[in-house]
Symmetry: D3
Subunit: 196 residues, 6 copies
């Protein structure tokens, strides 16, 4: 009676992994090794190796580099702006990562639905105010917005990071939405505290 | 380092249960008995017994009555429109109920973030198209919208139900948002399939 | 040449009053007695007695109870938020009530079209700023909005009342819009000062 | 207790009529003669005689000229687009004119709040669909919109008229809103059927 | 391969100039003399001589009169609000005039795309903040907006001018958009500093 | 009297080119060689070499690769979506490239302000309809949008390209807006046909 669950990775057929370039395949195998499954964004983008390489290089440059923003805070930016953009893949996949990195099973839903009501510090709320403005109305961003970040102790390079992460996921959300990239079932329960 | 978790039920102090009228207290005790905890909306609204009674009478009239819409489908309407209205309480609480009623740990996030990408039947998608239009642009609802429902087999009374549920949660979302009603921690993990 | 005037109460047929439950019929007869006609919302909702009872119980709990907001001020909230939601039934019916309760034939159009230009006290304008924010962007309501009300002398329970009335009519507007509930002709001229 | 009613014509002081150029004063005297009062838009714009002359010349060219649109229909365009733009002056003043020209005390509120629910012919609804699109999203107007008008019997010159009236009141609404031109009290009751 | 360039003045056929009234024809000949070509808005509106006369009388009353706003500043208002309204004719034609009047080949694109990033004085930015609010949300304009202008040295009559120009082009943009008035090819290169 | 022209590349200081990694410096020198100047986006992003490399790798993967979309058409996508996002840098810089690649001095302004009125083929208009939907409302993109592309002869890989370019510039626009990257003066006149 219930609809058959969709099993595709996206509306574009995923490539045969045997055919993808070695470096792309190795990155996919590494994430499989580490996570126990291959997040569908890897399979979807592998159709286009050059775009795959640039996408993950950009991702790593923003999300894996050292800096004053904690890894959980970077995921908050992803989840808040992906909620704004109604991106199912990014909310579910990065929501899982956020729960794990923040060691908080509640935080992803709070940030995705309305970060103003989330269990955040004032500094984190200011960070998301800026990120959401970049995502939604970047043409109105001005020096007053940078000053508000400084008031919460963010340095200039932190402001760059917040804006760049919001901008990168503005792209990522649009790719995932337009290509109907499906979040893997595994993400939904990650970091949850089940209750019977 | 992480912010202290908020423990309030809402921005208005919850009443002392010993002081609330007997019928209100009994309803609260009954839900406590059944669920193992008291959802915060009960405690928040108990501050106003007449409004409490009307709210839950209305809720029951729409959500508990017989009809062609399954209970899971009614919760889909709640979750889709509450996502649209960025209502944290309703998305989390009714997302939990939806997962349980649909016996599907994935469905709540799908419907809350973007029902167009959810594992739904075409009939359910049409139901949510109508519900979301009532929630967002009810002044543009017209006979063409009812015809689209009929094309998917919905009777006139089903159309009433969809519209009335969307309208009731338009109210409920605004109450929960304006009063900062906090979803109980218990809801987040309900119906999830945890993964380590 | 001019279109035949619609005479229906709503797009759903009104029930035969002889068939509706006694308490519902008695409420309808009481309003008929008092007003000289039956406002169409009573006839439209009588199709669903449980919903009828809950709707009017909720209405009375908010609009008839004692409190610091005058009855005219409560109607201002209804008319301003119903104008925002383009709800013909509510603007016309509650505009009539507002004119009468405020003893002011001008106030309903002013509040429905643009309350910022209406003959209101600063306190009433602050009340409508809050109500309209609840109606339009409740997810952004926060403590600063409550503080603005306090600055105009509103107590916490007054703030609850304003939000709850705005929320109740968010529901009511969507029902009236989706069901095409037609305002009775009698409302238009009530409280007007005719001019030839 | 109630706020003192504002008596100004607009936020700019009205000029001394003895000082305004003769042709402007004569036009004002003529409308006073005909209507029994001077609509405030005349007094507000008289501060700028050249703009006064151009404004009313344009008004007359669109609203008084012969053509397939009845005078009541032209006022429907004014009222529908002025409602969209939340222009109190234009909704109240032209609502009065519409009631009189259509000999229908209900029509102005219907068209101002939600023309889709008004007692209109399908042809008139199509006319307002076009007018409202010009008012709200003129950059998306295209040949399909003109074809929809043709389907209801509108000639090319009628389409011009509809667009030009919507455009002229886009200007007029912004002037009245920005200058806070107050609708004269006399307008509210004109064409109403009072009821006690 | 490339689409044939459209050569029409607008979607309505331009009138035979031999048939238009003498005063209209003389105005057209004068602009031809002065500019070396006839801007298409003259040809498009000549179809309706009375509207033509009122339109250009209004234009001249706002754009050619003495006043504290420089002619370049008036064109900034036109270009900023026409960008907001996606009006191709007005952005291109008045962008050309702005480049020439400001003796600045960069200014038109800056103001049309995002005046907040343009090479403007704070006073000019405040002028455009006001103009854009009149264009986009005139119902929310209030005394605080006039006070912001005063803080930058604008007198009451300057505020009128800014609002009136924004309002006039609200009309003009809608006419040009709805009628598809095509900007003459000559405008694009005017005031540019070409680079090979 | 006129404001001093801003000479910065962005709100973040550009790095000393002597200090940037060799590969980044070489890319900058190559573009300087080819264009005669260094577009500011290169200098702004050089502050972050890893992001610089990923950004331009992604750019080249989308904009320089073979495919059914001509290079001019790819620039149309950039200009139309950048206009939507009010991105001054991208409209001016890519407007210049579009004029040159399309050998058409009019096309950039047309596409930036309102592509619906531009001299485009129906196929190109369909391409931009899709791109703009990805940019503005990607969560509503569905199979009907892909079918509309197919109707104009676009293959599946072309649809990917359109969406990916729109998504990449969704990121790029937000970076340029948030960082206030200034378009170089040289871009404005490129590909223009000057007129005295």
């Amino acid at each position: 009676m219930s609809p058959v669950k969709d099993r595709s990775t996206s509306r574009f057929p995923a490539p045969d992994l045997a055919q993808v370039p070695k470096d792309v395949r190795e990155r996919i195998e590494a994430v499989q090794e580490k996570s126990g499954f291959v997040p569908n964004v890897f399979l979807a983008l592998a159709r286009r190796p050059d775009e795959f390489r640039a996408f993950f290089a950009y991702h790593d440059a923003l999300m894996e580099k050292p800096g004053a923003l904690s890894k959980a805070e970077r995921e908050m930016i992803v989840v808040a702006t992906s909620g704004l953009n109604n991106c199912l893949y990014c909310v579910v996949a990065h929501g899982a990562i956020l729960r794990i990195r923040a060691k908080n099973p509640l935080i992803a839903d709070q940030v995705a639905v309305n970060y103003r009501k989330a269990d955040l510090s004032p500094r984190q709320t200011a960070m998301l105010d800026f990120a959401v403005k970049v995502a939604a109305r970047s043409h109105e961003v001005g020096e007053a917005d940078y000053a508000a970040l400084r008031d919460h102790g963010f340095a200039e390079d932190d402001a760059w990071d917040i804006a760049a992460i919001a901008a990168f996921y503005a792209m990522s959300n649009r790719l995932a939405n337009a290509f109907s990239i499906r979040p893997n079932d595994e993400f939904y329960g990650m970091g949850q505290e089940p209750r019977n």
